[in-house]
Point group: C2
Chain length 231, copies 2
DNA sequence: CCAGCATTTAACCATGCGGTACATTTCGGT
DNA sequence: ACCGAAATGTACCGCATGGTTAAATGCTGG
Protein backbone atom coordinates (compact mmCIF):
# COMPACT_ATOMS: atom_id res chain seq x y z
CA UNK A 1 0.00 0.00 0.00
CA UNK A 2 2.93 2.30 0.58
CA UNK A 3 4.78 1.57 -2.59
CA UNK A 4 2.18 2.46 -5.08
CA UNK A 5 4.22 2.81 -8.17
CA UNK A 6 4.72 0.44 -11.00
CA UNK A 7 7.98 2.10 -11.98
CA UNK A 8 11.13 0.82 -10.41
CA UNK A 9 13.56 2.27 -7.92
CA UNK A 10 16.82 1.32 -6.44
CA UNK A 11 18.49 3.02 -3.55
CA UNK A 12 22.04 2.15 -2.79
CA UNK A 13 24.52 3.49 -0.33
CA UNK A 14 28.03 4.11 -1.53
CA UNK A 15 29.75 0.77 -1.36
CA UNK A 16 32.36 0.31 1.34
CA UNK A 17 32.81 3.94 2.29
CA UNK A 18 31.82 5.40 5.61
CA UNK A 19 28.31 6.67 5.90
CA UNK A 20 28.71 9.74 8.15
CA UNK A 21 27.79 12.23 5.43
CA UNK A 22 24.44 11.76 3.69
CA UNK A 23 26.10 10.83 0.44
CA UNK A 24 23.51 8.39 -0.75
CA UNK A 25 23.45 7.74 -4.43
CA UNK A 26 19.97 7.15 -5.73
CA UNK A 27 19.92 5.47 -9.07
CA UNK A 28 16.72 5.14 -10.97
CA UNK A 29 15.44 3.57 -14.10
CA UNK A 30 13.67 5.48 -16.76
CA UNK A 31 10.19 4.17 -17.27
CA UNK A 32 8.12 6.91 -18.83
CA UNK A 33 5.12 4.73 -19.64
CA UNK A 34 4.83 3.45 -16.12
CA UNK A 35 5.31 6.85 -14.55
CA UNK A 36 2.73 8.41 -16.80
CA UNK A 37 0.28 5.63 -16.00
CA UNK A 38 0.99 5.96 -12.28
CA UNK A 39 0.32 9.67 -12.40
CA UNK A 40 -2.93 9.15 -14.23
CA UNK A 41 -4.13 6.62 -11.69
CA UNK A 42 -3.21 8.86 -8.79
CA UNK A 43 -4.73 11.89 -10.45
CA UNK A 44 -8.04 10.15 -11.05
CA UNK A 45 -8.23 9.24 -7.38
CA UNK A 46 -7.17 12.65 -6.16
CA UNK A 47 -9.50 14.58 -8.44
CA UNK A 48 -12.36 12.23 -7.66
CA UNK A 49 -11.85 12.84 -3.96
CA UNK A 50 -11.21 16.56 -3.95
CA UNK A 51 -12.38 18.10 -7.19
CA UNK A 52 -10.32 20.18 -9.55
CA UNK A 53 -9.66 23.13 -7.28
CA UNK A 54 -9.42 20.94 -4.19
CA UNK A 55 -6.87 18.53 -5.63
CA UNK A 56 -3.22 19.12 -4.78
CA UNK A 57 -0.52 18.34 -7.29
CA UNK A 58 1.89 17.58 -4.48
CA UNK A 59 -0.57 15.05 -3.05
CA UNK A 60 -0.85 13.35 -6.41
CA UNK A 61 2.93 13.11 -6.54
CA UNK A 62 2.95 11.70 -3.02
CA UNK A 63 0.42 8.97 -3.80
CA UNK A 64 2.97 7.34 -6.05
CA UNK A 65 6.65 7.92 -5.55
CA UNK A 66 7.33 10.75 -7.93
CA UNK A 67 7.82 14.48 -7.98
CA UNK A 68 5.61 17.38 -8.95
CA UNK A 69 8.13 18.01 -11.65
CA UNK A 70 7.22 14.85 -13.51
CA UNK A 71 3.54 15.70 -13.48
CA UNK A 72 4.13 18.99 -15.22
CA UNK A 73 6.63 17.30 -17.49
CA UNK A 74 4.03 14.86 -18.78
CA UNK A 75 0.81 16.84 -18.51
CA UNK A 76 1.73 20.49 -18.78
CA UNK A 77 -0.45 21.95 -16.10
CA UNK A 78 -3.15 21.06 -13.61
CA UNK A 79 -5.98 21.34 -16.09
CA UNK A 80 -4.11 19.25 -18.60
CA UNK A 81 -3.78 16.54 -16.01
CA UNK A 82 -7.42 16.84 -15.08
CA UNK A 83 -8.51 16.51 -18.67
CA UNK A 84 -6.27 13.50 -19.19
CA UNK A 85 -7.61 11.87 -16.04
CA UNK A 86 -11.21 12.48 -17.05
CA UNK A 87 -10.58 11.14 -20.52
CA UNK A 88 -8.86 8.06 -19.19
CA UNK A 89 -11.67 7.41 -16.74
CA UNK A 90 -14.15 7.55 -19.58
CA UNK A 91 -12.07 5.21 -21.66
CA UNK A 92 -11.82 2.54 -19.00
CA UNK A 93 -15.48 2.77 -18.04
CA UNK A 94 -16.54 2.45 -21.62
CA UNK A 95 -14.36 -0.61 -21.94
CA UNK A 96 -16.22 -2.09 -18.98
CA UNK A 97 -19.55 -1.41 -20.61
CA UNK A 98 -18.48 -3.22 -23.73
CA UNK A 99 -18.51 -6.46 -21.77
CA UNK A 100 -22.28 -6.55 -21.77
CA UNK A 101 -23.74 -8.66 -24.53
CA UNK A 102 -27.50 -8.66 -25.01
CA UNK A 103 -27.69 -10.22 -28.43
CA UNK A 104 -30.43 -12.71 -28.97
CA UNK A 105 -32.29 -11.94 -25.78
CA UNK A 106 -35.99 -11.12 -25.82
CA UNK A 107 -36.52 -7.38 -25.33
CA UNK A 108 -37.84 -7.44 -21.76
CA UNK A 109 -35.05 -9.70 -20.64
CA UNK A 110 -32.47 -7.60 -22.44
CA UNK A 111 -33.75 -4.47 -20.76
CA UNK A 112 -33.78 -6.18 -17.40
CA UNK A 113 -30.17 -7.17 -17.76
CA UNK A 114 -29.14 -3.79 -19.05
CA UNK A 115 -30.64 -2.06 -16.02
CA UNK A 116 -29.07 -4.50 -13.59
CA UNK A 117 -25.74 -4.15 -15.27
CA UNK A 118 -25.87 -0.35 -15.24
CA UNK A 119 -26.86 -0.31 -11.59
CA UNK A 120 -23.94 -2.51 -10.62
CA UNK A 121 -21.52 -0.87 -12.98
CA UNK A 122 -22.17 2.56 -11.52
CA UNK A 123 -21.79 1.26 -8.00
CA UNK A 124 -18.49 -0.35 -8.90
CA UNK A 125 -17.11 2.82 -10.46
CA UNK A 126 -17.71 5.41 -7.78
CA UNK A 127 -14.59 7.34 -8.71
CA UNK A 128 -15.83 7.75 -12.24
CA UNK A 129 -19.22 8.89 -10.97
CA UNK A 130 -17.51 11.46 -8.80
CA UNK A 131 -15.48 12.74 -11.73
CA UNK A 132 -18.67 13.17 -13.71
CA UNK A 133 -20.27 15.01 -10.78
CA UNK A 134 -17.28 17.31 -10.64
CA UNK A 135 -17.38 17.85 -14.34
CA UNK A 136 -21.04 18.79 -14.06
CA UNK A 137 -20.16 21.34 -11.42
CA UNK A 138 -17.86 22.82 -14.04
CA UNK A 139 -20.71 22.77 -16.56
CA UNK A 140 -18.87 20.17 -18.59
CA UNK A 141 -16.34 22.80 -19.60
CA UNK A 142 -13.48 20.31 -19.86
CA UNK A 143 -15.50 17.50 -21.35
CA UNK A 144 -16.62 19.55 -24.29
CA UNK A 145 -13.16 19.34 -25.81
CA UNK A 146 -12.91 15.55 -25.54
CA UNK A 147 -13.53 13.70 -28.75
CA UNK A 148 -13.43 10.32 -27.06
CA UNK A 149 -17.12 10.76 -26.31
CA UNK A 150 -18.64 10.56 -29.74
CA UNK A 151 -18.51 6.77 -29.78
CA UNK A 152 -19.87 6.11 -26.32
CA UNK A 153 -22.88 8.28 -26.99
CA UNK A 154 -24.00 6.30 -30.00
CA UNK A 155 -23.35 2.81 -28.66
CA UNK A 156 -25.31 3.26 -25.44
CA UNK A 157 -28.30 4.64 -27.28
CA UNK A 158 -28.09 2.25 -30.18
CA UNK A 159 -28.19 -0.71 -27.85
CA UNK A 160 -31.34 0.67 -26.27
CA UNK A 161 -32.77 1.54 -29.66
CA UNK A 162 -32.42 -2.05 -30.78
CA UNK A 163 -34.15 -3.27 -27.65
CA UNK A 164 -36.97 -0.80 -28.08
CA UNK A 165 -37.42 -1.69 -31.71
CA UNK A 166 -37.63 -5.35 -30.84
CA UNK A 167 -40.01 -4.68 -27.97
CA UNK A 168 -42.29 -2.61 -30.13
CA UNK A 169 -42.12 -5.31 -32.75
CA UNK A 170 -43.38 -7.98 -30.40
CA UNK A 171 -46.07 -5.63 -29.19
CA UNK A 172 -44.78 -5.73 -25.63
CA UNK A 173 -43.52 -2.15 -25.51
CA UNK A 174 -45.44 1.05 -25.95
CA UNK A 175 -45.09 2.35 -29.47
CA UNK A 176 -43.83 5.72 -28.30
CA UNK A 177 -40.94 4.66 -26.08
CA UNK A 178 -37.89 6.83 -26.63
CA UNK A 179 -34.49 5.19 -26.28
CA UNK A 180 -33.02 8.50 -25.23
CA UNK A 181 -35.58 9.09 -22.50
CA UNK A 182 -35.21 5.51 -21.40
CA UNK A 183 -31.48 5.93 -21.12
CA UNK A 184 -32.05 9.13 -19.20
CA UNK A 185 -34.31 7.33 -16.72
CA UNK A 186 -31.97 4.44 -16.16
CA UNK A 187 -28.97 6.71 -15.82
CA UNK A 188 -30.78 8.99 -13.43
CA UNK A 189 -31.55 6.29 -10.90
CA UNK A 190 -28.29 4.39 -11.21
CA UNK A 191 -26.23 7.55 -11.06
CA UNK A 192 -28.14 9.18 -8.23
CA UNK A 193 -27.81 6.00 -6.22
CA UNK A 194 -24.08 6.54 -6.09
CA UNK A 195 -23.72 10.28 -6.40
CA UNK A 196 -26.19 11.28 -3.71
CA UNK A 197 -25.68 8.51 -1.27
CA UNK A 198 -23.94 10.72 1.31
CA UNK A 199 -26.58 13.41 1.65
CA UNK A 200 -29.43 11.00 1.15
CA UNK A 201 -28.27 8.70 3.88
CA UNK A 202 -27.57 11.57 6.23
CA UNK A 203 -31.17 12.70 5.88
CA UNK A 204 -32.95 9.38 5.61
CA UNK A 205 -30.51 6.92 7.11
CA UNK A 206 -28.35 4.22 5.59
CA UNK A 207 -31.36 1.98 5.25
CA UNK A 208 -31.31 1.87 1.46
CA UNK A 209 -27.59 1.35 1.16
CA UNK A 210 -26.93 -1.96 2.85
CA UNK A 211 -25.96 -4.71 0.44
CA UNK A 212 -29.29 -6.39 0.83
CA UNK A 213 -31.29 -3.20 0.38
CA UNK A 214 -29.28 -2.33 -2.70
CA UNK A 215 -30.24 -5.66 -4.21
CA UNK A 216 -33.89 -4.89 -3.58
CA UNK A 217 -33.51 -1.37 -4.85
CA UNK A 218 -31.98 -2.64 -8.04
CA UNK A 219 -35.03 -4.79 -8.68
CA UNK A 220 -37.27 -1.85 -7.97
CA UNK A 221 -35.43 0.09 -10.64
CA UNK A 222 -35.83 -2.82 -13.02
CA UNK A 223 -39.51 -2.93 -12.18
CA UNK A 224 -40.01 0.80 -12.61
CA UNK A 225 -38.22 0.88 -15.95
CA UNK A 226 -40.01 -2.19 -17.29
CA UNK A 227 -43.52 -1.17 -16.27
CA UNK A 228 -43.03 2.30 -17.68
CA UNK A 229 -42.09 0.80 -21.01
CA UNK A 230 -44.69 -1.91 -21.36
CA UNK A 231 -47.77 -1.29 -23.46
CA UNK B 1 -27.17 44.56 -11.43
CA UNK B 2 -24.08 46.39 -10.37
CA UNK B 3 -25.32 47.49 -7.02
CA UNK B 4 -26.16 44.19 -5.56
CA UNK B 5 -26.42 45.06 -1.96
CA UNK B 6 -29.40 45.77 0.15
CA UNK B 7 -27.36 47.77 2.61
CA UNK B 8 -26.97 51.47 2.03
CA UNK B 9 -24.05 53.64 1.13
CA UNK B 10 -23.33 57.28 0.88
CA UNK B 11 -20.27 58.83 -0.62
CA UNK B 12 -19.70 62.49 -0.11
CA UNK B 13 -16.87 64.78 -1.03
CA UNK B 14 -15.73 67.29 1.54
CA UNK B 15 -18.12 70.19 1.16
CA UNK B 16 -16.65 73.34 -0.35
CA UNK B 17 -13.03 72.40 -0.24
CA UNK B 18 -10.88 71.80 -3.26
CA UNK B 19 -10.72 68.30 -4.55
CA UNK B 20 -7.10 67.99 -5.76
CA UNK B 21 -6.09 65.50 -3.10
CA UNK B 22 -8.13 62.33 -2.84
CA UNK B 23 -9.54 63.40 0.47
CA UNK B 24 -12.90 61.82 0.01
CA UNK B 25 -14.78 61.12 3.15
CA UNK B 26 -16.84 58.00 2.84
CA UNK B 27 -19.55 57.82 5.38
CA UNK B 28 -21.45 54.65 5.81
CA UNK B 29 -24.44 53.36 7.65
CA UNK B 30 -24.33 50.36 9.89
CA UNK B 31 -26.71 47.69 8.72
CA UNK B 32 -25.48 44.39 10.06
CA UNK B 33 -28.58 42.42 9.18
CA UNK B 34 -28.52 43.50 5.56
CA UNK B 35 -24.79 42.94 5.21
CA UNK B 36 -25.02 39.49 6.70
CA UNK B 37 -27.90 38.64 4.40
CA UNK B 38 -26.03 40.03 1.41
CA UNK B 39 -23.01 37.92 2.23
CA UNK B 40 -25.12 34.80 2.53
CA UNK B 41 -26.76 35.40 -0.81
CA UNK B 42 -23.45 36.01 -2.50
CA UNK B 43 -21.85 33.04 -0.79
CA UNK B 44 -24.59 30.68 -1.92
CA UNK B 45 -24.09 31.79 -5.50
CA UNK B 46 -20.30 31.64 -5.34
CA UNK B 47 -20.16 28.24 -3.66
CA UNK B 48 -22.80 26.87 -6.00
CA UNK B 49 -20.73 28.00 -8.97
CA UNK B 50 -17.27 27.06 -7.81
CA UNK B 51 -17.47 24.61 -4.94
CA UNK B 52 -15.89 24.99 -1.55
CA UNK B 53 -12.25 24.94 -2.62
CA UNK B 54 -12.97 26.81 -5.83
CA UNK B 55 -14.85 29.66 -4.22
CA UNK B 56 -12.91 32.86 -3.51
CA UNK B 57 -13.72 34.92 -0.48
CA UNK B 58 -12.65 38.03 -2.33
CA UNK B 59 -15.07 37.24 -5.12
CA UNK B 60 -17.88 36.86 -2.65
CA UNK B 61 -17.02 40.26 -1.23
CA UNK B 62 -16.94 41.71 -4.72
CA UNK B 63 -20.39 40.39 -5.63
CA UNK B 64 -21.90 42.73 -3.11
CA UNK B 65 -20.12 45.88 -2.09
CA UNK B 66 -18.30 44.78 1.01
CA UNK B 67 -14.89 43.69 2.19
CA UNK B 68 -13.36 40.33 2.96
CA UNK B 69 -13.02 41.49 6.51
CA UNK B 70 -16.77 41.61 7.02
CA UNK B 71 -17.15 38.04 5.89
CA UNK B 72 -14.71 36.81 8.49
CA UNK B 73 -16.31 39.13 11.00
CA UNK B 74 -19.69 37.53 10.56
CA UNK B 75 -18.82 33.96 9.68
CA UNK B 76 -15.44 33.22 11.19
CA UNK B 77 -13.82 31.37 8.35
CA UNK B 78 -14.48 29.94 4.92
CA UNK B 79 -16.01 26.74 6.19
CA UNK B 80 -18.23 28.60 8.60
CA UNK B 81 -19.54 30.64 5.70
CA UNK B 82 -20.01 27.53 3.61
CA UNK B 83 -21.97 25.82 6.35
CA UNK B 84 -24.13 28.88 6.87
CA UNK B 85 -24.79 29.14 3.15
CA UNK B 86 -25.70 25.47 2.89
CA UNK B 87 -27.98 25.70 5.88
CA UNK B 88 -29.68 28.79 4.53
CA UNK B 89 -30.18 27.17 1.15
CA UNK B 90 -31.85 24.22 2.81
CA UNK B 91 -34.06 26.49 4.85
CA UNK B 92 -35.36 28.44 1.89
CA UNK B 93 -35.88 25.37 -0.26
CA UNK B 94 -37.83 23.67 2.48
CA UNK B 95 -39.97 26.75 2.79
CA UNK B 96 -40.73 26.47 -0.91
CA UNK B 97 -41.73 22.86 -0.52
CA UNK B 98 -44.17 23.73 2.19
CA UNK B 99 -46.30 25.52 -0.38
CA UNK B 100 -47.51 22.25 -1.82
CA UNK B 101 -50.81 21.12 -0.41
CA UNK B 102 -52.11 17.71 -1.39
CA UNK B 103 -54.82 17.31 1.21
CA UNK B 104 -58.06 15.79 0.04
CA UNK B 105 -56.73 14.64 -3.30
CA UNK B 106 -57.13 11.04 -4.43
CA UNK B 107 -53.82 9.19 -4.14
CA UNK B 108 -52.92 8.95 -7.82
CA UNK B 109 -53.67 12.61 -8.36
CA UNK B 110 -51.71 13.57 -5.26
CA UNK B 111 -48.73 11.59 -6.45
CA UNK B 112 -48.97 13.09 -9.90
CA UNK B 113 -48.91 16.59 -8.48
CA UNK B 114 -46.11 15.77 -6.08
CA UNK B 115 -43.92 14.53 -8.91
CA UNK B 116 -44.69 17.50 -11.12
CA UNK B 117 -44.00 19.87 -8.29
CA UNK B 118 -40.70 18.21 -7.41
CA UNK B 119 -39.60 18.23 -11.02
CA UNK B 120 -40.29 21.94 -11.37
CA UNK B 121 -39.01 22.81 -7.94
CA UNK B 122 -35.64 21.22 -8.62
CA UNK B 123 -35.36 22.96 -11.96
CA UNK B 124 -36.11 26.27 -10.32
CA UNK B 125 -33.49 25.82 -7.63
CA UNK B 126 -30.42 24.91 -9.59
CA UNK B 127 -28.14 26.64 -7.13
CA UNK B 128 -29.46 24.50 -4.33
CA UNK B 129 -28.99 21.38 -6.41
CA UNK B 130 -25.43 22.38 -7.06
CA UNK B 131 -24.78 22.92 -3.38
CA UNK B 132 -26.08 19.44 -2.68
CA UNK B 133 -23.86 18.03 -5.43
CA UNK B 134 -20.90 19.76 -3.88
CA UNK B 135 -21.81 18.53 -0.46
CA UNK B 136 -21.97 15.00 -1.84
CA UNK B 137 -18.49 15.43 -3.23
CA UNK B 138 -17.48 16.17 0.33
CA UNK B 139 -19.30 13.05 1.52
CA UNK B 140 -21.79 15.21 3.36
CA UNK B 141 -19.10 16.13 5.87
CA UNK B 142 -20.54 19.58 6.52
CA UNK B 143 -24.17 18.56 6.40
CA UNK B 144 -23.80 16.02 9.13
CA UNK B 145 -23.52 18.76 11.72
CA UNK B 146 -26.67 20.58 10.61
CA UNK B 147 -29.70 19.98 12.80
CA UNK B 148 -32.00 21.85 10.45
CA UNK B 149 -32.44 18.62 8.52
CA UNK B 150 -34.34 16.50 10.98
CA UNK B 151 -37.64 18.14 10.11
CA UNK B 152 -37.33 18.09 6.35
CA UNK B 153 -36.58 14.39 6.35
CA UNK B 154 -39.76 13.44 8.15
CA UNK B 155 -42.14 15.77 6.32
CA UNK B 156 -41.16 14.68 2.84
CA UNK B 157 -41.52 11.03 3.70
CA UNK B 158 -44.64 11.47 5.78
CA UNK B 159 -46.39 13.14 2.90
CA UNK B 160 -45.55 10.21 0.66
CA UNK B 161 -46.46 7.76 3.39
CA UNK B 162 -49.94 9.26 3.61
CA UNK B 163 -50.37 9.02 -0.13
CA UNK B 164 -49.19 5.42 -0.19
CA UNK B 165 -51.46 4.48 2.68
CA UNK B 166 -54.43 6.00 0.89
CA UNK B 167 -53.48 4.37 -2.39
CA UNK B 168 -53.15 0.97 -0.79
CA UNK B 169 -56.45 1.56 0.96
CA UNK B 170 -58.29 2.11 -2.31
CA UNK B 171 -56.56 -0.89 -3.80
CA UNK B 172 -54.96 1.18 -6.52
CA UNK B 173 -51.38 0.87 -5.26
CA UNK B 174 -49.30 -2.23 -4.76
CA UNK B 175 -49.38 -3.32 -1.16
CA UNK B 176 -45.60 -3.30 -0.88
CA UNK B 177 -44.83 0.22 -2.07
CA UNK B 178 -42.21 1.87 0.11
CA UNK B 179 -42.51 5.62 0.65
CA UNK B 180 -38.77 5.84 1.10
CA UNK B 181 -38.00 4.04 -2.15
CA UNK B 182 -40.63 6.08 -3.90
CA UNK B 183 -39.05 9.26 -2.66
CA UNK B 184 -35.68 7.95 -3.78
CA UNK B 185 -37.01 7.31 -7.29
CA UNK B 186 -38.65 10.68 -7.63
CA UNK B 187 -35.63 12.49 -6.25
CA UNK B 188 -33.26 10.57 -8.49
CA UNK B 189 -34.92 11.62 -11.71
CA UNK B 190 -35.75 15.19 -10.72
CA UNK B 191 -32.29 15.74 -9.29
CA UNK B 192 -30.38 14.11 -12.12
CA UNK B 193 -32.33 16.20 -14.59
CA UNK B 194 -30.68 19.30 -13.18
CA UNK B 195 -27.41 18.01 -11.82
CA UNK B 196 -26.26 16.11 -14.90
CA UNK B 197 -27.63 18.29 -17.59
CA UNK B 198 -24.22 19.59 -18.68
CA UNK B 199 -22.51 16.25 -19.28
CA UNK B 200 -25.67 14.59 -20.52
CA UNK B 201 -26.34 17.25 -23.08
CA UNK B 202 -22.72 17.28 -24.21
CA UNK B 203 -22.94 13.59 -24.96
CA UNK B 204 -26.49 13.30 -26.22
CA UNK B 205 -27.36 16.82 -27.27
CA UNK B 206 -29.66 19.44 -25.78
CA UNK B 207 -32.65 17.61 -27.17
CA UNK B 208 -34.14 16.74 -23.79
CA UNK B 209 -33.61 20.15 -22.26
CA UNK B 210 -35.68 22.48 -24.36
CA UNK B 211 -38.70 23.86 -22.54
CA UNK B 212 -41.04 21.71 -24.56
CA UNK B 213 -38.99 18.54 -24.09
CA UNK B 214 -38.77 19.18 -20.37
CA UNK B 215 -42.54 19.31 -20.22
CA UNK B 216 -42.74 15.96 -21.96
CA UNK B 217 -40.00 14.54 -19.79
CA UNK B 218 -41.85 15.60 -16.68
CA UNK B 219 -44.88 13.64 -17.79
CA UNK B 220 -42.71 10.64 -18.52
CA UNK B 221 -41.46 10.80 -14.96
CA UNK B 222 -45.01 11.03 -13.72
CA UNK B 223 -45.90 8.05 -15.86
CA UNK B 224 -42.93 6.00 -14.72
CA UNK B 225 -43.58 6.69 -11.06
CA UNK B 226 -47.29 6.03 -11.30
CA UNK B 227 -47.08 2.80 -13.25
CA UNK B 228 -44.41 1.46 -10.94
CA UNK B 229 -46.68 2.06 -7.98
CA UNK B 230 -49.97 0.79 -9.34
CA UNK B 231 -51.15 -2.71 -8.46
C1' DC C 1 -23.39 64.55 24.97
C1' DC C 2 -20.35 61.25 26.25
C1' DA C 3 -18.68 56.47 27.00
C1' DG C 4 -18.33 52.19 25.27
C1' DC C 5 -19.59 48.67 22.16
C1' DA C 6 -20.71 47.15 17.38
C1' DT C 7 -19.63 47.71 12.80
C1' DT C 8 -16.68 48.91 8.94
C1' DT C 9 -12.24 50.34 6.65
C1' DA C 10 -7.63 49.82 5.15
C1' DA C 11 -3.40 47.79 5.23
C1' DC C 12 -0.98 43.91 6.08
C1' DC C 13 0.83 38.97 6.97
C1' DA C 14 2.00 34.03 6.18
C1' DT C 15 2.01 30.41 3.45
C1' DG C 16 0.31 26.93 0.46
C1' DC C 17 0.59 25.88 -4.03
C1' DG C 18 0.97 25.99 -9.15
C1' DG C 19 4.57 26.32 -11.99
C1' DT C 20 9.89 26.84 -13.50
C1' DA C 21 15.11 26.83 -13.99
C1' DC C 22 18.74 24.20 -14.10
C1' DA C 23 21.60 20.44 -13.09
C1' DT C 24 22.03 15.41 -13.38
C1' DT C 25 21.29 10.84 -14.88
C1' DT C 26 19.74 7.30 -18.11
C1' DC C 27 19.47 5.42 -22.54
C1' DG C 28 19.34 4.53 -27.42
C1' DG C 29 21.71 5.15 -31.71
C1' DT C 30 25.91 5.06 -34.39
C1' DA D 1 32.54 4.76 -26.41
C1' DC D 2 30.34 8.71 -26.92
C1' DC D 3 26.83 12.10 -27.94
C1' DG D 4 22.36 14.07 -27.84
C1' DA D 5 17.86 13.64 -26.32
C1' DA D 6 14.62 11.95 -23.05
C1' DA D 7 13.66 11.50 -18.27
C1' DT D 8 14.34 12.63 -13.46
C1' DG D 9 16.00 15.22 -9.28
C1' DT D 10 16.44 19.52 -6.56
C1' DA D 11 15.76 23.81 -5.47
C1' DC D 12 13.38 27.69 -6.08
C1' DC D 13 9.90 31.62 -7.38
C1' DG D 14 5.75 34.50 -7.46
C1' DC D 15 1.59 35.27 -6.09
C1' DA D 16 -3.10 34.37 -5.06
C1' DT D 17 -5.64 33.72 -1.06
C1' DG D 18 -7.28 32.76 3.62
C1' DG D 19 -6.94 35.14 7.56
C1' DT D 20 -5.39 39.09 10.94
C1' DT D 21 -4.23 43.65 13.15
C1' DA D 22 -5.26 48.11 14.23
C1' DA D 23 -7.63 52.02 13.78
C1' DA D 24 -11.67 54.80 12.37
C1' DT D 25 -16.52 55.52 12.35
C1' DG D 26 -21.31 54.78 13.60
C1' DC D 27 -24.65 53.76 17.13
C1' DT D 28 -27.02 53.42 21.59
C1' DG D 29 -28.02 53.82 26.37
C1' DG D 30 -27.51 56.58 30.39
Amino acid sequence: MLDNRASAWETEVMDGERNDSEKKVRSWKQDPKAVRADILRAAKAEFAENGLAGARIQDIANRIQTSKRMIFYYFGDKEGLYRAALEDAYRSVRKGEAELDLNGLPPTEALRRLVRFTFDHHRNNADFIRLVMIENIHDGRHMRAMETLSESSTTAIEQLARICEAGIGTGEFRKDVSPLVLHWQISAMCFFNVSNRPTFSIIFGEELFTDKAQGDLREQVVHAVLTSVLA
